[in-house]
Amino acid sequence: MPDQNLIHPILSVKFLSKVFQSGGQPLTVLKDINFNVTRGSSVAIVGPSGSGKTTLLGLCAGLDEPTSGSVTLNDRDLGKLNENERAELRNLNVGFVFQNSQLIPTLTALENIIVPLELRGELDSFTQAQRLIENVGLGERANHYPIQLSGGEQQRVALARAFINDPKILFVDEPTGNLDRDNGQHVTDLLFSLNKASGTTLILVTHDQEIAARTERILRIDDGQLVDNEC
């Protein structure tokens, strides 16, 4: 019997290319990228600065549209969806962790965590959010604003927000890029432990080899092309 994961990977990228116009000249950032990601797996995308990692992440998450090729996320071809349909898909299936946490400055930590659920119409999920914030060790900081939290604390809140909607897939962009070593280690441990507990697929962009090594698979990108696909 065929492996369901192989037949229906959670993420399927085919001949994906992205070209920007820069000063009237075309700039090819990604060229003919092909890969699949099975459900529940963890993948690191690594490469030098400017190689196209973040661009690839954005395309896989439906944050941008490719110049050519296709991205299928949870059996939905992103190219066939309009912007609002992609937004809904993200809300129901995707979690995000950004390099600089990207918390909304006017919301408290707890309010930031609950945004994905509120977008679905679930306005009374504070209990769930409280549980998560305690899981990340910031239970007593729930009513603090991002400006009152350190960089590492902000990133932990971002992690809690990423998991609040039980995502099927988590996209993480350089989670420790702005943190010192100890904080970075703490955040990374938290990320992987939460991921393991929830069974979410993890796509992680990083330049940190140690973090990459903790994933099941590493995709190397250089100059916009996939050069290595190691497990």
């Binding site: 609002n84 993200r90 990207q102 962009d173």
Partner: protein
């Protein structure tokens, strides 16, 4: 997982938008409050003016009868004939009579003379309304000795008391009280010729009414029944036309006053609307800056699954609420100001106005102002739709939203333009005037924008490289990325333009009058001089050492027919282009054999002498020719005090009416009117005010019926009226200035964080707080200076256009006022800028970042 079903979801999402709008406003409420202030003054002006208009309409209805003081009045330029008296007697009711004319009043105790309007009254008047005097209800009609009621302002001006004497003609009157107010007449009415009431029984004794005297004879009626309008219309074509009578009813007076007040209201409303438009622009600018800070938040929400409409809805809700708060505050301000308007307009109102809150008008202005602010805010809000979630990862240079390619931008802009045009049209009642005002407004904004861009370009490319660093840095701040320099220059410039144009126009009009006082120009006209008084008057003037420029004979006459059609026939003709007033008026014509310096022949030839063969060739002034619809060769039959004289239009003249000379509509040649009953006017030049007063005193004592108009009186009167008008306009224009200043403050505050970042960086690199403050001061000073240059330049252009096309005056500017205007605007900008930048330069950098983060 608690997922709501489909019917509850939209409601939940709306609730979320509301909650999110509230949460997102945290830390930004000061900025949002500034947005509300942008529209407060504009809405305040519209509420105040609109509500007060309603108050006026109610007052006019309430006081309608007192506007005339009677149910009906009939008047004419000569004493009533038997035919007229018979007609008057058929009307019945209670009647009172009045003769009013201008003459010189002499206050012997004070030694002062003044041109005044005498009103010789018989019978009870006013029948409705009141004549307010001090003491109250003073009786000047029944006493057996001659007494007078004198205008209060005149008594104050010449320090005259009750009990003093005033001489009118050959008679001395004891002053029994001061006249404060008459219902139906406003304060301006008494400026040129203050009023003095006497009993009609003393009129003959004054010997002031002589042949040729300009007087108006009136009869007022209090009628038992409603006036039959059909009867009046019939009379208008019949006896009124024959006897050259005018009539006035309450409805007519209401309509006239309503028209005048409507014009005033419409103009003030337009000025208030400019404040609202500027406020709208301020809102658009502030929202644009506000949303720039929200880009990241919006992108994050999009990443997390928010639809475009949800993200848009959050900020739309904020703007809607901000607009409602601003409109509410504006309405409250407007209601407060409304209670000030009776005082502001006191000189122009003919009655007391009861001020009450007009909820309908408050609501209309509230809704209109809120709509305008929303439309303007919509323009920057449109950009939210183009913010992609990718922005949360990084800024995409493909993400730039070009408004001009967005059809919604053009749709919203068109709606704003249509509303502006519609508003202008409703205030001016004629499409071309509405278009003109809207076009002028758009043109002003374009010119100001162009000037702003030009000035900043010039400054940027031409400043000396050796300027101190603080100066260079202050200058470069004007064109930092996302600067609002042009926008601020336009809003500040618009306020400057409005106020300075008003000032220049006032100066232009006054200058025209004062130019009459040039060295070689006459500055006094004496009139109502009888033939046997000419020699005596001439002697007095010569003995006083003054030269006589001209002595002019004047003959009064009336029109009988034009080209064979009688006056009643002409009035009854529905297709006539002739204006009624030109048919009714009494003409004062002269005879001479030359043109004077204020005249220019434009058609035909001037006949200098005639042997008396009719038709007599006459020269007609161009504007009266137009009013009478006559051209060269047309025949006009005049009734010269009972003698018909047929004339033919032989030439047309252009007259400069603005010069202080005796100008005439109709000039006869020598040889025909010399034997007609004549009175004289005399034109002279008097060196100063003291000489003027002395001469007037001499004349009034010897020839009390001779009246004098001197240039200083004219200047004083016009100045007084202009000042009152200017005060009203300036009061409303203040709302525009206030809006400009709020927009300026708002812009500085919304860019505060950017300035802090710059300041912190400079302080980190070693700049002192003094340097930072100098830099900011220079930036604001430059901004204010550029705005004042733009505003003043536009003002000069607009004043030139008004002088050339509207007032038809020569264009002279009081250049000394230019630097004053510019310095005022620059300093105001500097003060507001520094006030809103307090603390940036002095606090430690890290403390500032913690506070403001």
């Amino acid at each position: 997982m608690n997922v709501n079903n489909n019917t509850d979801r939209p409601r939940s999402l709306f609730r979320w938008m509301v909650v999110m709008a509230w949460r997102d406003s945290r830390g930004q409420r000061r900025i949002l409050f500034l947005l509300t202030l942008c529209i407060v003054f504009g809405i305040g002006a519209l509420v105040a003016i609109g509500s007060f208009r309603h108050n006026l309409e109610v007052a006019i209805d309430l006081h309608s009868r007192s506007l005339l003081g009677a149910d009906l009045s009939i008047s004419g330029r000569r004493s009533f004939t038997e035919k007229t008296e018979n007609f008057i007697s058929t009307l019945g009711g209670e009647q009172s009579r009045e003769v009013r004319f201008r003459t010189m009043a002499y206050f012997p105790k004070q030694g002062k003379t003044r041109l005044i309007q005498t009103r010789a009254l018989e019978g009870r008047f006013p029948f409705y309304g009141e004549m307010v005097s001090d003491p109250e209800e003073v009786d000047f009609l029944t006493p057996d000795t001659p007494v007078a009621l004198v205008e209060d302002s005149l008594m104050i001006q010449y320090q005259v008391q009750t009990g003093d004497t005033v001489k009118l003609g050959g008679m001395a009157f004891e002053i029994v009280g001061s006249l404060k107010r008459i219902s139906g007449e406003n304060g301006v009415a008494g400026i040129f010729s203050p009023r003095i009431y006497i009993a009609k029984k003393w009129l003959n004794a004054t010997e002031l009414i002589k042949p040729g005297s300009i007087a108006r004879y009136k009869v007022y009626f209090k009628l038992p029944n409603e006036i039959d309008t059909a009867f009046l219309e019939e009379a208008e074509k019949g006896i009124f036309a024959e006897e050259r009578l005018n009539y006035d009813t309450v409805e007519e007076r209401k309509r006239n006053i309503g028209d005048v007040l409507d014009n005033l209201y419409d103009y003030l409303n337009l000025v208030g609307f400019v404040a609202l438009l500027l406020g709208g622009m301020g809102v658009a600018g502030a929202v644009q800056v506000y949303l720039r800070e929200k880009l990241n938040t919006i992108a994050i929400l999009r990443c997390l699954g928010s639809r475009i409409s949800q993200a848009f809805g959050i900020y739309l809700l904020q703007i809607v609420i901000v607009g409602l708060i601003g409109s509410t505050l504006g309405a409250a301000l407007g209601i407060s100001v409304q209670f000030l308007l009776p005082w502001v307009l006191s000189h122009f109102l003919p009655f007391d106005v009861h001020v009450f809150i007009s909820f309908k008008n408050v609501f209309i202005s509230f809704a209109f102002g809120w709509l305008i602010s929303l439309l303007f805010a919509f323009i920057p809000l449109l950009s939210i739709r183009k913010i992609t979630p990718l922005h949360a990862l990084r800024f995409s240079f493909e993400n730039q939203h070009l408004l001009r390619r967005d059809p919604w931008f053009w749709t919203v802009s068109s709606i704003i333009a249509a509303i502006t045009l519609g508003f202008c049209f409703t205030q001016t009642s004629q499409l071309r005037y509405g278009l003109g005002f809207a076009g002028g407004l758009a043109g002003s904004l374009l010119i100001l924008s162009g000037l702003s861009l030009g000035l900043t370009w010039v400054l940027r490319h031409n400043y000396p490289k050796k300027w101190p660093y603080a100066l260079r840095q202050g200058l470069s701040n004007l064109y930092r990325p996302h600067n609002r320099t042009v926008f601020l220059i336009v809003t500040l410039g618009m306020g400057t333009f409005l106020i300075y144009t008003l000032y220049l126009c006032q100066g232009l009009l006054l200058q025209q009058v004062t130019s009459w006082g040039a060295e070689d120009q006459p500055n006094m006209v004496l009139f109502d001089i009888q033939p046997d008084q000419v020699e005596g008057v001439t002697a007095i003037i010569n003995d006083a050492g003054h030269s006589i420029i001209e002595t002019v004979p004047i003959v009064t006459m009336r029109l009988t027919s034009i080209n064979g059609q009688t006056i009643p026939e002409l009035k009854a003709d529905p297709e006539t282009k002739i204006e009624t007033w030109a048919l009714n008026r009494e003409y004062r014509s002269t005879y001479r054999n030359h043109l004077i310096e204020t005249e220019q022949l434009i058609e035909g030839e001037l006949t200098v002498e005639t042997k008396g063969e009719e038709p007599i060739p006459v020269s007609v002034e161009e504007s009266i020719a137009k009013s009478l619809a006559v051209k060269l060769g047309d025949r006009i039959l005049f009734d010269v005090q009972g003698i018909p004289i047929e004339t033919r239009v032989e030439s047309l003249r252009k007259v400069d009416w603005q010069k202080m000379r005796t100008n005439f509509y109709v000039v006869f040649p020598n040889g025909i009117l010399e034997e007609a009953p004549t009175f004289y006017a005399l034109v002279t030049k008097v060196p100063d005010r003291v000489a003027t007063a002395d001469l007037q005193e001499l004349l009034v004592n010897k020839f009390p019926n001779v009246s004098a108009i001197d240039l200083s009186l004219v200047i004083e009167t016009i100045t007084s009226i202009l000042n009152r008008v200017a005060f009203v306009i300036r009061f409303i224009a203040t709302f525009t200035i206030a809006t400009s200043l709020v927009v300026l403050a708002g812009s500085i505050i919304t860019s505060r964080y950017q300035r802090i970042r710059e300041s912190v960086l400079l302080r980190t690199l070693g700049a002192s707080s003094g340097f930072i403050q100098s830099m900011m001061a220079i930036e604001y000073l430059l901004l204010g200076t550029l705005a004042s240059i733009a505003g003043v330049t536009l003002s000069l252009l607009a004043t030139w256009a008004l002088a050339h096309f509207v007032f038809k005056l020569s264009y002279n500017v009081e250049w000394a006022s230019l630097p004053v205007a510019m310095i005022t605007v620059s300093l105001l900008t500097l003060i507001i800028g520094l006030a809103n930048s307090r603390g940036i330069a002095r606090h430690p950098p890290l403390a500032i970042l913690r506070e403001e983060g």
